[in-house]
Amino acid sequence: MPGPFALFKWEAVFQDWRVFAEGFGMTILVAALALVLALLLGILFGMMGTARSKTLRCLNRVYVEFIQNTPLVIQIFFLYNGLPYAGIMLPVFWVGMLGIGIYHGAYVAEVVRAGILSIPKGQFEAAYAQGFSYWSAMRYVILPQAKQLAYPSLTNLAVNLIKNTSVMAMVAGGELMYHADSWSSANLYYGPAYVITGLLYISLCYPLATYARHLEHRLEVST
């Protein structure tokens, strides 16, 4: 009686390793690009959140609250099936990258905002006294310090981002989870397929998570 983990099912997984490798590559690519987008958006909106202008702060709130309070699944579904009605047909790769990047951008924005707010006001005042403008003070004095504080949380966000690329499976995104679903649902050798898929995600996330812990530890020592 073959169980879900019968030997021949493992053999089948290793025989078709290319399917999983292809998905794995796609996951890494989407995650990397989405991470860049999330950081750019996050830093921009994070700074807006601490700006003096009320409009900018308002924009930050709208973005953060709207994105944080709706499920990623719905956002992806909207980008995939909603936008075409408005005549915008993004390729599925873009749907994944934009969707995941924008989603995590909101979280990065909060981390950045908190990081900036944690820098004592005196730093700003000292920078102004030296003739820095608001933006150059931000660039040369505040952000470098905020970065130190924000780093561990950002690394944790990156781990979450990688895991969240799996929602692309829902819209035939061609990444790891999609290929695992597709492969294992055709032959029903789901046991080894999902174990291998899980291990592949761990191989990406665990080093990052360890790195985050390392950074946190260093922060504790320095303060």
Binding site: P2, G82, V92, V171, A172, L188
Partner: protein, 273 residues
């Protein structure tokens, strides 16, 4: 020490049983009389008093949950009732659970359901993992396109996208046909049928392809099902390997329904014939 002995003994007995099964076919094999109904899986179901059955809830005519009444009904539910009548003597003693292409295998394996009757196509690969009954329905893979696309056959879909369901054998059927006709068509897979329909409506894909009878449930004013049918798909009732009693009961039920003409009536009732 005792444990090791028990283990060794189990192995020896197990091995000799295997040998006996392998070589004993020529000699007068002593199969237990099937009439006694002592199969442990059947007894188990009888003790429980209800059959647990995995069905689809998103496939009109086969297994569909009416959003107004919340009741699941369809041809496959009727078949489940017939099997319950056969095993438990009461056709109302079924406990239906929604399954998807992704969950039906695991639910069988962990014993959450006794049977899966969910437009489950019989394939050799799947037979290695589960027991399938004789087919109760045969259908070909069909194509649904938007009326205004003007597409009338597979050739018209060259360079386009056909959405198929995960775990459906339709993909393989289409790949074979596409290769035969030397076409280049992308086949993205989706988890559920409504998702494929949504993608067809938003024109993410140009065609929705699955077994013809399932497709008919998703037909609306803006879509049309093309007449072509590809590689016949045979649906079977699946049970876990080892639950031979249950499999046999399902098979007997299907054979009886077919012989008495009840199966045809069932198919007519649900507009499948």
């Amino acid at each position: 020490m005792k444990k090791i002995y028990t283990l060794a003994l189990t192995f020896v007995i197990g091995f000799s049983l295997l040998l006996a099964a392998g070589c004993g076919s020529s000699s007068a094999s002593t199969t237990p009389s099937s009439g006694s109904g002592a199969a442990p899986d059947i007894k188990n179901a009888k003790d429980r008093g209800v059959l647990k059955i995995g069905v689809k809830v998103d496939v009109p005519k086969f297994g569909f949950k009416d959003p107004n009444t919340g009741k699941v009904d369809g041809m496959e539910i009727d078949l489940a009732r017939a099997i319950a009548k056969k095993i438990l003597g009461d056709e109302t003693k079924i406990d239906v659970q929604p399954v998807t292409a992704k969950t039906r295998g695991p639910l069988l394996d962990n014993g959450e359901v006794d049977f899966v009757i969910a437009t489950f196509t019989i394939t050799d690969e799947r037979k290695k993992s589960y027991n399938f009954s004789d087919p109760y329905f045969e259908d070909g893979v069909a194509l649904m396109v938007k009326k205004d696309s003007g597409i009338s056959d597979l050739t018209g879909l060259n360079g386009k996208k056909i959405g198929v369901a995960q775990s459906a054998t339709s993909k393989k059927a289409l790949v074979d046909e596409i290769q035969k006709q030397n076409l280049k068509i992308d086949l993205p897979e989706f988890g559920t049928y409504p998702e494929i329909k949504a993608a067809l409506d938003s024109r993410r894909i140009d065609c929705f392809s699955v077994d013809g009878a399932i497709l008919a449930g998703y037909l609306d004013d803006s879509t049309v099902i093309l007449p072509a049918r590809y590689s016949p798909q045979l649906y079977g009732v699946a049970a876990k390997k080892g639950n031979e009693g249950l499999s046999k009961a399902a098979n007997d039920t299907i054979a009886e329904l077919k012989a008495s003409g009840e199966m045809d009536k069932l198919l007519v009732k649900w507009g499948l014939k």
